[in-house]
């Protein structure tokens, strides 16, 4: 057994001296995801806040046809802009997000007591105009409602009769669960990190060693090949575990920079939770390292190994993708599926639910079993003469 650790020590030392590996596994890998996440969501949330609070600056075309309406809009804080020459074009040119247009028939319809048509121009394919558009519509509805009520009252009817049903929305989401919608990205980053961070170590210690022809003398040493494989596998796993810890640390620190309170949600990710996630996903580090080792041992060269790795990145995306397409209630059988179980557990925990301990244990157990299974395959690949000599 001690020889496994001789191999392990050597691989760790060797990898730490490789600038590319250190950069990939310990710096770029763990930091890039969280930084991207924070910048992205920091930007989105601050934009949303800005849009819902900023003064509405909207052009009103044919304002003179509806002076009363225009006055109402101004009273409610809208800054009416001069009307553009070609409203459609100015929307297309993104000069304005939303334009209100009083139709030519408006005065006539108004006088006849028919619904007077007001158009709201916007490009709905631009996601960012949604908030502004909703605010403009709310104002217009408010005006319409107010005038309608006055008309009914004038005829001596109770305006309440108009409202046969009143819809009252009871939102049971909590600030934590709303935050979890955003942090749903976390398992995705964690899973990708698990597979990416060990990559260069796995390739370097197997396919790289084969390509540099140092595998041949190494295998002439008197220890079983599975022990050599195990030492290398553990080195890859160690790198992955450290990288995973750094990723989680970066997330815990990073989420504090997202202005969550102003959006009325809580990003529920603290240190103890990060530790829990680390322990939950640690078995996946072994599994990922074993998978990478199998592929690297299978490849004839460094380049071939790298081309497999491109496909490997797809694997950790699968559970997140599946959950996105098909949101499900977590069930206990899912805990037997590595990657999916960890993604679900992380998501549920973030949204403030307490996951049963036996679920967590099943998840850990199944990932360890799958990891050992892959390690056994890697060991059997190490037995082939093909491992060293491509032509045999």
């Amino acid at each position: 057994m001690s020889r496994i650790f001789i191999v392990f020590n050597k691989e760790i030392r060797d990898s730490l001296r490789d600038r590319r590996t250190v950069l990939n596994a310990l710096i770029m890998g763990p930091i890039l995801g969280p930084v991207l996440f924070v910048i992205l969501f920091g930007f989105i949330t601050s934009k949303e806040v800005e849009k819902s609070e900023e003064t509405l600056e909207i052009p009103v075309v044919n304002r003179a046809l509806a002076p009363n309406l225009a006055q109402f809009l101004e009273q409610h804080g809208m800054l009416i802009q001069p009307e553009p020459v070609d409203p459609e074009q100015s929307i297309a040119d993104k000069d304005h997000d939303v334009i209100v247009r009083i139709t030519e028939q408006y005065p006539q319809q108004w006088r006849a007591g028919e619904p007077a048509v007001v158009e709201v121009l916007a490009d709905r394919s631009r996601r960012e105009v949604g908030t502004t558009m909703a605010r403009v519509q709310r104002l217009l509805n408010g005006y319409g409602g107010q005038i309608g009520q006055q008309r009914i009252q004038l005829r001596g009817v109770d305006p309440g009769l108009m409202q046969a049903v009143m819809i009252k929305e009871v939102d049971l989401s909590t600030p934590e669960s709303r935050g979890a919608m955003i942090l749903a990205m976390l398992p995705y980053f964690v899973m990708i990190g698990l597979f990416v961070s060990g990559m260069s170590v796995a390739i370097d210690t197997t396919a790289g060693e084969k390509e540099r022809k140092s595998l041949e003398p190494l295998l002439i040493n008197p220890l079983p090949r599975w022990q050599i494989m195990a030492g290398k596998l553990l080195a890859t796993t160690a790198f992955t575990l450290i990288s995973l810890a750094l990723t989680l640390v970066a997330f815990v620190i990073g989420v504090r920079f997202i202005p969550a309170a102003s959006m009325d949600f809580t990003l529920n990710l603290d240190w103890s939770m990060a530790l829990q996630f680390w322990l939950l996903t640690a078995p996946v580090a072994l599994l990922a390292a074993a998978l990478l080792t199998v592929l690297a041992a299978f490849a004839k060269s460094f380049r071939e190994a790298q081309s497999y790795m491109g496909l490997v990145v797809l694997i950790p995306m699968l559970p997140t993708l599946w959950m996105f397409i098909n949101p499900v209630k977590p069930e206990i059988w899912m805990m037997w599926v590595p990657l999916l179980s960890q993604s679900l557990l992380i998501n549920e925990t973030i949204s403030g639910k307490l996951m049963p301990l036996n679920w967590q244990l099943i998840s850990v157990l199944s990932s360890v079993v799958f990891g050992l299974l892959l390690a056994a395959i890697a060991a059997s690949l190490y037995q082939r003469p093909k491992l060293i000599f491509n032509n045999s």
Binding site: R3, R13, D14, R17, S214, P217, N221, P222, I388
Partner: protein, 244 residues
Amino acid sequence: MIVTEHLQKSFGPVQAVRDVTFNAADGQITGLLGPNGAGKTTTLRMLYSLLPPDSGSIRIDGIDPQREALKVKTSLGVVPDARGLYARLSARENIAYFGQLHGIKKADLEQRIAELCEQLDLHEFIDRRTEGFSQGQRVRVALARALVHKPKTLLLDEPSNGLDVMSTRALRELLLRLRAEGHCIVLSTHIMQEVAALCDRIVIIADGRVVADGSADELRRLSGRNELEDAFVKLIGSEEGLLA
């Protein structure tokens, strides 16, 4: 002591080794001479247990390398064709790694490396990373690494490839000293001078077969030529792939 009988090895349609039978005695240097592609490296790889022969048998001090690979490896020192040093480790770390894998204790290992430093004159670069080493330096480190556990049997694949004159001389002196200590040494080469100067016994391999086997004198007699080089060329049947 190495005994091989009728070794055969094919890679798909390519018959790399067709029929190789030879013995290598302790206290002797046995040279496998042949042009490039004759099957020398494949033969050596079968000896150090990394390739299983398709047929035939190998015994190294009575041990079958296929059956008891771990046991045979404890008594083998190997310098493969490619050397295969770790570029990011120093020469000392390279040697120590293999020493540890052979189960040598730390204190013994330090002492052993000091000895090897002396014998192979490694002082100048022992603590430098091997990246950028010259061929001569590489071979010396690879040799030290192969000798760290004091193996009974030494297998060297083209040891003097790429060496300058001084390094070649140093290598020869070392091999002669090991021979005097009673080691069994097998080296492969395509350089005629080398076998002539060094080997007690010469096994000529051409196209996967042993075509002649004996001391330099025996080979001269066998071929009816006085010059050893002429004898080689006669026995192999062509000059192609050999270096004088």
